[in-house]
């Protein structure tokens, strides 16, 4: 009986010691590829937002200064400017965190860098999308597509609220990770 326990113990020990690093490595590789996908999507969105801003400038020039929608347009341009800055800064932060994954000392730290990079890429993506939506509003005014203004305005407000939730949760993730390593 005890001999069987010894053998079973030995097998489990070998399995456990052998499998644990492999599982951790697989998890790390998986999260690394997820991060790359998230950063790539954010980069594309930021590039599109950059092109949208140029288009928005041209559209803005077409709108008469005495347009009754000017206060709305000012609000949209402000939202676009704020979110553009957030998108660019967050993309930079996401890339910095992703760069630290490989050099992290242990799988847990690497996983936390990966998580931070992924969430930051999400912040960048949502900021860039809002820029595009604000420019779509300006374009709709410039091209007299007034029937879609209400829809765009409502969608943009919902998106700004959701984007602030992304940033709130990014701050939360960052705080919880900091607390984890300061104990």
């Amino acid at each position: 009986m005890s001999r069987h326990s010894f053998i079973a113990g030995l097998i489990v020990a070998l399995l456990g010691i052998g499998v644990a690093p492999n599982v951790a490595k697989a998890q790390q590789e998986n999260s690394s590829s997820e991060v790359q996908v998230a950063i790539s999507a954010a980069e594309k969105a930021v590039q599109k937002a950059r092109a949208d801003i140029e288009k928005g400038k041209e559209m803005l020039a077409l709108i008469p200064e005495d347009s009754p929608l000017m206060p709305d347009i000012a609000e949209m341009v402000e939202a676009a400017a704020e979110n553009w800055k957030v998108a660019v800064d967050s993309l930079k932060g996401a890339k910095e965190s992703a760069g630290k994954i490989e050099s992290a000392g242990n799988p847990s730290l690497a996983g936390d860098y990966a998580l931070l990079a992924k969430v930051n890429a999400g912040v960048a993506l949502s900021g860039a999308k809002i820029v595009g939506m604000a420019v779509a509003y300006v374009e709709a005014v410039a091209t007299n597509k007034t029937e879609s203004l209400d829809i765009i305005r409502t969608a943009l407000r919902d998106a700004v609220a959701a984007s602030s939730q992304v940033q709130f949760n990014y701050d939360r993730v960052k705080k919880l990770i900091t607390e984890k390593y300061s104990k």
Partner: protein
């Protein structure tokens, strides 16, 4: 290496194996990251609504709105599950925390599905039943009688007594259908 040390190594190995397969229980950091991802998907869904509105295609707009609604529902479910997880962690209820964490993950999948147009269809019967349910101040008529079968009771006996009393009251009421009812519904026709 004696028998005891081999056994100890075995236990250690098993522990590391379990740790590798299922690293710790409910994870607040991962849950917050998922909530962030849910909100990002919500922004994407709203951006799709704007894109559809810019085309002026009514069908595309309806579809984009349908998807955005599905994503919003998933976000709400994720936030509710995350709150439940935080409460369970505070109460040291590991099982409830794990279940709530699964709820957060399910919400993420729901949101991804919703963004891709995979929205679960609610059958007409279920939708009708849901619209008729008295939720106590919700969409139903506030003068609707409470449904005894929907009221949670502390014990089965208590529930049985309450339901029987309700049945008796119903059948004797003005619109009840029982023999002792003074009402009009489902009664035998009188000779005249």
């Amino acid at each position: 290496m004696n028998g005891n040390s081999i056994l100890k190594a075995g236990v250690l190995g098993m522990a590391s194996l379990l740790f590798a397969v299922h690293a710790s229980g409910a994870d607040k950091i991962a849950a917050s990251a998922i909530l962030a991802e849910l909100s990002t998907i919500s922004v994407e869904a709203q951006a799709n609504v704007v894109d559809a509105a810019a085309t002026g295609n009514l069908e595309a707009m309806a579809e984009a709105n349908r998807r955005a609604d599905a994503v919003d529902a998933a976000v709400a479910a994720g936030q509710a599950a995350s709150t439940a997880m935080d409460r369970a962690i505070e109460a040291n209820d590991q099982d409830a925390a794990d279940a709530a964490e699964d709820g957060v993950k399910d919400a993420l999948q729901m949101a991804k599905d919703g963004l891709n147009g995979i929205v679960p269809k609610v059958s007409a019967t279920k939708a009708w039943k849901a619209s008729k349910k008295n939720t106590g101040g919700g969409p139903a008529d506030p003068y609707d009688a409470p449904n005894m079968y929907d009221i949670p009771s502390k014990t089965k006996v208590q529930q049985g007594v309450a339901q029987k009393s309700w049945g008796t009251l119903w059948s004797s009421g003005a619109i009840g259908s029982g023999l002792e009812s003074g009402g009009f519904a489902d009664r035998e026709a009188t000779p005249e």
